[in-house]
């Protein structure tokens, strides 16, 4: 009995720290940061109006003001919508990206990961496949033609790029001989030729680039935002959603951004490994390792934002062509190359 | 490893052939696809040559299981593969001239025939549940597509849909059967399953597994009451595809079912369940052949008639399967399996011949081939009429065609298997054969003794003529010199099956 309580209590503590404090915190900040950063890149001022008296904090209060405003808005359901599917969709959009964080190790050992299930990446891939349901069910349930078009585009785009993500991870699994994220990170602690950290980005550079772009496409952010394409189909699959339901879609997207950054940091940037520093334990070193993991995550989040506000939107046929005719063959070639190189350097 | 790879050379050739034809079709951009058919036919001939080469190679340990015991490619399996490759060759030959007439000159036809034959070959060589399932799926998926190949024809769409839905249902049953067998034994290789079950009282899982496997093979073999799809699919699917279904699928499914019920679930493994299984199979055999023949009687559409005839023949084949099951573990099982293979071979030849004639009549996308269309064929296309006559006589089992000796051997082996249990089955089968003569001979009457009623557009081409000629030759060859063929198969079957039975013994 005691061990059960211990297990549940410890799990709750980790969930609170990782999910509620870190993920939700970062996702909330991102709602403001994203707008501020776009304003910076487009030479605007950006959100700066929310205030408490004289206190403005450069618009930082928008991230509190927006949810408060949304929760007082009308919970709109279009006529002839399928009521239960319409309500289900936001859940499916936001819950799978949240549950992904259960297997992401924020530091060495079992203490910094919610669940040490060895299936790691398989779990993540399974959940990210569920992500497409949120958009598609929402689109179908809305009974709106723009939504349906958006939903169709979303489903085709997401499943197309999922293939690329899946195939690119094969090379990583071949090198690190593990599908558990912790296992992959531990293997990345090696040093090659005496100076090069054995990170995924070093050993699988092609896979890293393809993974990054495919993940951005998977989260439907610009330049892969044809499914939402405001200028063509208004807002795509979440056109009819308002108030908190819409907020959940938006929140799901920001959580996905954080999730992609975490997975990318774990698989390709060495996770919590500090380059050239052996993992020996000790509180200070562990704290530094957690810190550097979070730094890597922020770097990847910044990269995704920079991509979003730099590149113009792809036309839909270009999106599909990029996925199937460029990324997929390159991923297959990458697997073959990895296999041959591993065969040639067998001893190493 | 190298030995294993060399042994599966015929399968490799067919697999590469399928990929090659598929890619050639999309990469060449030529609109006339007859050359693809010629390449496919040449490829099948090459694979047959490789079978011949392997047959003579004593340095390869042919009778031993390969790839960790998931398949075996001994002499018996080589013969079965040769039969399947011949079927593939004939189907290709009759498609070459037929396809352009139908407006379905699409290269995928040949690739899919290759993949279907590959699946069949995998099916007859499988000694493991997983390879059995893999072979069945490779075969079935290709044939689902082939059945609906004439995309613009509603009949073909119906055929494809029916075959797909019921085929998927049958596959599901097979998977459940395998899963229950695995649950009961923890083993997937046939011999291991038999070993694990031997001498134990069958549990509920085993009963479910046997029941599901019987039903699954019932679907694939078109046993009554699992035969509902047969007439519509045979009628709707294009003639060469129906030939592939009638000849190829039946051959592969019977051999696979034989192997499952001989090596995985022999009487020793079923224990007290054995009499029940025997009764179920016996009843299935009787109603299958009786219902098939009775329903074939009123058919005026040649394809539907052949479909019900296929059902009836499934009943005869089931008697052979029961005999093989009954003597599992004894040296005699080799003879029974050999007789089954011979029967399948002559049945395949007759069906291929009949459907080659149906293809011959299918000029300009003609759909329905009723008896009226056959009237006066002897005047317009003497070779076609002669081949059709031979095929009908062979199906009816009239000497000196191959069909007579096929039936003779099968029934003889069934009687030899157990004097006490099989006579009534064989008597019923012979009576049924007598009934069937009526509808087979009616085709002859229309072909030779009636005047042409309506204009029929014939498909003309050298490949089809070649196929007709070869089929006529083979049917007569087997019919006139049967002993050579039978001895070869029995000899081939003996070591394979006895070896399996020794490995299955506890």
């Amino acid at each position: 009995m005691g061990s059960t309580l211990h297990l549940v209590g410890f799990a709750l503590l980790k969930i609170t720290l990782i999910l509620l404090v870190f993920v939700m915190g970062v996702a909330t900040v991102l709602t403001w940061l994203e707008r501020k950063y776009s304003a910076f890149m487009q030479d605007r001022i950006g959100p700066n109006r929310a205030n408490i008296g004289k206190l403005r904090l450069g618009g930082l209060l928008h991230m509190i003001a927006d949810p408060i405003k949304m929760i007082f808005k009308e919970d709109f359901t279009p006529s002839e919508a399928s009521p239960w599917l319409y309500r289900l969709a936001p859940f499916l959009a936001v819950v799978p990206p949240m549950v992904i964080f259960a297997v992401i190790p924020f530091g060495p050992g079992d203490a910094f990961v919610i669940s040490n299930a060895g299936i790691g990446m398989l779990f993540i891939l399974a959940l990210s496949s569920l992500g497409v349901y949120g958009a598609v069910i929402g689109a179908w349930a809305s009974n709106n033609k723009y939504s349906l078009l958006g939903g169709l585009r979303t489903s085709a785009q997401m499943i197309s790029y999922e293939v690329t993500i899946g195939l690119n991870l094969v090379g990583v699994f071949m090198i690190y001989e593990s599908i558990s994220l912790q296992g992959i990170i531990v293997e990345q602690g090696d040093v090659l030729f005496g100076f090069l950290p054995a990170w995924g980005i070093v050993l699988q550079p092609v896979a890293f680039i393809l993974f990054l772009f495919a993940s951005v496409a998977e989260s439907k952010r610009a330049p892969f935002d044809a499914p939402e394409g405001d200028s063509e189909i208004v807002a795509g699959y979440h056109l009819e959603y308002s108030s908190m339901k819409f907020a959940l879609f938006a929140l799901g997207e920001f959580i996905e951004v954080v999730g992609i950054a975490c997975i990318g940091a774990c698989v390709f940037l060495g996770g919590w490994q500090i380059p050239w520093v052996q993992h020996t334990g000790g509180i200070l070193l562990t704290a530094a390792e957690v810190g550097i993991f979070i730094a890597k995550v922020f770097f990847l989040i910044w990269l995704q934002m920079a991509i979003r506000w730099t590149a113009p939107r792809f036309r839909y046929d270009q999106v599909m062509r990029l996925g199937w005719k460029y990324m997929l063959p390159i991923s297959l070639a990458n697997i073959l190359l990895t296999g041959v190189v591993l065969y040639l350097v067998k001893g190493a | 490893m190298l030995n294993d790879l060399l042994t599966v050379l015929p399968l490799t050739i067919v697999a590469l052939l399928g990929c090659f034809v598929l890619l050639l079709d999309v990469l060449s951009g030529q609109t006339d696809r007859r050359y693809l058919g010629r390449i496919t036919a040449a490829g099948f001939a090459l694979a047959l040559g490789s079978v011949y080469l392997l047959w003579g190679k004593t340095s390869l340990q042919l009778e031993s299981p390969i790839f960790g015991g998931i398949m075996v490619l001994g002499r018996f399996e080589l013969l079965a593969c040769a039969v399947l490759l011949l079927i593939g060759l004939f189907v290709t030959l009759m498609s070459i001239d037929w396809a352009p007439e139908q407006g379905v000159s699409i290269g995928e036809l040949y690739a899919l025939v290759c993949f279907a034959v590959l699946g069949m070959m995998l099916l007859v060589t499988a000694t493991h549940m997983i390879s059995l399932f893999l072979g069945l799926e490779v075969m079935s998926v290709a044939i689902y597509v082939l059945a609906a190949f004439k995309r613009n024809s509603p009949y073909a769409a119906e055929a494809g849909m029916k075959y797909f839905v019921l085929g998927a249902f049958g596959t599901g049953l097979l998977l459940y059967g395998m899963a229950y067998a695995y649950g009961a034994t923890g083993k997937l290789a046939f011999a291991d399953v038999a070993q694990a079950l031997a001498g134990k009282e069958p549990t509920g899982y085993v009963k479910l597994a046997v029941l599901m496997l019987v039903a699954a093979f019932g679907f694939k073999l078109a046993l009554v009451p699992f035969h509902m799809w047969t007439p519509d699919v045979y009628e709707g699917a294009p003639a060469p595809v129906t030939a592939l279904m009638a000849a190829g699928v039946k051959t592969a499914a019977v051999i696979a079912a034989g192997r499952v019920f001989v090596t995985a679930l022999p009487p020793s493994a079923l224990g007290s369940l054995e009499p029940t299984v025997f009764k179920i199979l016996g009843v299935l055999a009787v109603i299958t052949m009786t219902a098939g023949n009775l329903m074939a009687l009123p058919q005026r559409n040649l394809k539907r008639m052949l479909a019900y005839s296929a059902v009836a023949h499934a009943g005869y084949l089931l008697i052979g399967l029961m005999a093989a099951h009954h003597v599992a573990g004894q040296p005699q099982v080799g003879d029974v399996m050999g007789a089954l293979l011979v029967y399948l071979f002559v049945y395949a030849l007759a069906n291929l011949a009949a459907f080659a004639v149906v293809s011959l009549l299918g000029g300009q996308s003609q759909e329905d081939v009723s008896l009226d269309h056959l009237s006066g064929l002897s005047g317009r296309h003497p070779l076609g009429a002669a081949v059709l006559a031979l095929a009908m006589l062979s199906l009816a089992g009239v000497p000196p065609t191959a069909g007579f000796f096929g039936k003779l051997t099968l029934f003889k082996e069934a009687l030899r298997a157990d004097e006490g249990k099989f006579p009534w089955l064989v008597v019923l089968a012979v009576l049924n054969s007598v009934v069937s003569v009526f509808y087979y001979l009616r085709v002859l009457v229309h072909t030779y003794f009636r005047d042409a009623l309506r204009p029929v557009l014939l498909v003309r081409g050298t490949a089809l003529t070649l196929a007709l000629g070869l089929l006529a030759f083979l049917t007569l060859q087997v019919g006139l010199f049967p002993s050579r063929w039978f001895e070869a198969t029995a000899q081939a079957a003996r070591p394979a099956t006895t070896q399996v039975s020794t490995s299955a013994a506890p």
Partner: protein, 127 residues
């Protein structure tokens, strides 16, 4: 407590917590938000024009094709995972090393045949 499902207990808690939080947010929202006023107000948005017909109509066959290709290629990728994880231990066995590499080429080769086929058939074109 059985050891094998211990790692999944936190996942289940996380799942419940996430669903509960989101449900709570939506319930609060629907309680304190304003209520719909008229039939027209509830019409689906079509740039101010009254909607003609249902949105749930037939759509381009290309989407179905992408669905089928996804199943083919993604399942193949999943089939590669167990092999990929074991690949280096295959290589460590000298008698099996070459077979492991050859198998990779066969498997990926079959995938490539499929890809070339759908590509040249024009199934990947969206114009």
């Amino acid at each position: 407590m059985g050891a094998h499902y211990v790692p999944y207990v936190p996942i289940a808690i996380l799942l419940l917590l996430a669903c509960g939080m989101m449900a709570a947010i939506l319930v609060i929202n629907s309680l304190i938000g304003p209520k719909p006023r008229s039939v027209l107000h509830n019409a689906p948005f079509e740039c101010g024009v009254e909607p003609i017909g249902s949105a749930r109509s037939r759509y381009s066959v290309n989407f179905y094709l992408v669905g089928i290709f996804f199943i083919v290629f993604d399942i193949e990728a999943v089939f590669l995972y167990p092999w990929a994880v074991l690949y280096r231990s295959f290589l460590a066995d000298p008698s099996f090393a070459f077979a492991a590499v050859a198998e990779m080429f066969v498997f990926v080769g079959i995938l490539v045949v499929g890809l070339v086929y759908v590509w040249k058939r024009g199934a990947l074109d969206w114009t």
